[in-house]
């Protein structure tokens, strides 16, 4: 048996991630699969359903603190958000405003809106965004972890950036439109979705960390995610106009500074990282050391 410290976050199921992150035996699930809460819209289309609609929610302990947790299961429809799935996330976040856990932890692995539930999925993602921001405005930190096989895309890529903190692994991917969507719409010259290195330099954890799109980067292990989450709970949640103004300045600076960059490599070069190609080879600690003082949000 693999020891928990080696357990890959990337390769784990949603349930295994929860089990590995929380203190043993502390997880209490709400609306578990035994309640057989399935999507009526998938049934209408004659598609198979899941008794948890692809997301697990509940409460548990991390470092002796009560947190609320949700984990999307990429294995069910790529973690996409339908009506029930979205409502479970909204319920969790709204309950947090009442119950005041130390944080809400969202383990996101999702392609975004579940297209089979088109309109219901889009409204659900919007309700999740609003619920994340409502929790933050009420003073509850919302921490997002991204490191699963399906990445975090579509409207949920926007929702993720509404959180207080984002933790990613190098293997994690975060964006709005996925490479396949852009290739289909604009052609392979615009974005070659099969060029894995190009995709990684665009949406991968290291690029997102250098850009300031994620706050913390960790190696691909559940234990590493747990350590980062524990630290982020203590960091809290700055929901203020001053923080938004600061973010605005950084995003404006990013557009003007990297306007001519065609590739992640160009951006890393502009950031003063000596050997952009070498970054891919560095392990997590070496990468963090190399990135120190060079991240776009550190200027």
């Amino acid at each position: 048996m693999t020891s928990p410290s080696r357990l890959s976050y990337y390769e784990s199921t949603a349930r295994a991630r929860i089990a590995g992150l929380l203190e043993a035996g502390s997880f209490h699930e709400w609306l578990p699969a035994s309640e057989r809460l399935t999507s009526p819209h998938l049934a209408t289309l004659g598609l198979p359903a899941a008794f948890d609609d692809g997301v697990i929610i509940g409460r548990g302990l991390i470092a002796r603190k009560t947190i609320f947790i949700a984990a999307q299961e990429g294995g069910f429809m790529g973690g996409a958000v339908g009506e029930v799935h979205g409502a479970k996330l909204v319920g969790l976040l709204e309950r947090a405003i009442l119950d005041r856990p130390a944080a809400v932890l969202l383990l996101l692995e999702t392609g975004g809106v579940r297209l089979q539930e088109a309109n219901a999925g889009l409204i659900a993602v919007s309700e999740v965004m609003r619920a994340i921001l409502a929790a933050r405005a009420a003073g509850v930190p919302v921490i997002v972890a991204i490191g699963g096989q399906y990445g975090c895309f579509g409207g949920m890529g926007i929702a993720a950036r509404c959180a207080s903190t984002i933790i990613m692994s190098e293997e994690g991917r975060l964006a709005l439109s996925g490479p396949e969507v852009i290739e289909t719409a604009c052609g392979v010259e615009e974005y070659d979705a099969r060029d894995r290195a190009l995709v990684w330099r665009t949406v991968g954890g290291k690029h997102r960390y250098l850009l300031g799109e994620c706050d913390v980067i960790v190696p691909d292990s559940i234990v590493a995610f747990r350590q980062a989450i524990t630290a982020c709970i203590a960091d809290g949640n700055d929901w203020s106009l001053a923080a938004l103004d600061r973010e605005h300045g950084l995003l404006r600076e990013r557009v003007s500074r990297f306007d001519d960059c065609k590739d992640g490599r160009d951006i890393w070069h502009e950031l003063g990282l000596g050997d952009p190609d070498g970054l891919a080879m560095l392990d997590n600690d070496e990468f963090i050391a190399a990135a120190h003082g060079h991240r776009a949000n550190e200027l």
Partner: protein
């Protein structure tokens, strides 16, 4: 409808709203209120620059005119589908815009949106769908994707999807479907200035969309599931 016609009908007492590229910006009178008008036109896609410009407009209202109502005029074909925008983190720019709208709402700015032409997925999530009251003109086009594209993705025939759409608002595009599901507060018909005044009176900071969806019979489960989570032991 052209944005100029919308603005003229919405603000018969006068307005100073101008177009700058695909961005619409200005102030207008609505009864005793001065309102900020922010929007997009030309069915534009929303890339990093436009998302940033919209966010800048919202932040300026928050800083310079506390509690001034904001009216969003929505016309977008969705997020920009470019490698370059994704490289720069378009999701982060969209989220920034959404956060600015949420900050405005929280600081007492009523935020009303009107989809007057088109609203599609990513471009819609960060502004129109963040507002207190989101309305549309009856002929406005609102969708995630068309039925043909959905048929390709889901591998369910377009004919079958079209048939299902007759009995469910979930699948097919259209403002009326979003109304039934609570995604829209209202369709605005008749005198747009009256519609806006009514909307400004009905502003509610909480997200009432799932209640509307249940009351209108178009989205029954969301409210029930949320209530069950809230009531669980």
């Amino acid at each position: 409808m052209e944005w100029k016609n919308v603005v003229e009908q919405m603000f018969p007492d006068g307005h100073e709203v101008c177009q700058d590229g695909d961005l619409i910006k200005g102030v207008a009178c609505c009864g005793e209120h001065t309102v900020a008008v922010i929007g997009t036109t030309n069915h534009t896609d929303v890339g990093v620059e436009l998302a940033l410009a919209l966010a800048a407009a919202v932040l300026a209202v928050i800083h310079d005119h506390p509690t001034r109502p904001i009216v969003f005029l929505v016309d977008t074909c969705g997020q920009r589908l470019r490698h370059r925008d994704e490289l720069l983190g378009l999701n982060g720019y969209m989220a920034h815009l959404a956060k600015c709208v949420e900050m405005a709402r929280g600081r007492g700015h009523p935020v009303i949106s009107l989809v007057y032409e088109q609203a599609l997925s990513g471009g819609f999530l960060a502004n129109g769908m963040m507002s207190d009251v989101c309305a549309a003109l009856p002929e406005a086009e609102i969708r995630v994707m068309g039925l043909a594209a959905m048929a390709r993705v889901t591998r369910i025939s377009e004919e079958r999807l079209a048939a299902l759409s007759l009995s469910s608002p979930v699948f097919a595009p259209g403002a009326r479907n979003y109304l039934l599901m609570g995604g829209l507060a209202a369709l605005w018909e008749g005198d747009l200035s009256v519609c806006l005044e009514d909307a400004l009176k009905s502003v509610d900071i909480s997200d009432r969309r799932r209640t509307l969806g249940r009351e209108r019979g178009g989205r029954m489960l969301t409210d029930q599931v949320v209530q069950r989570v809230l009531a669980s032991a």
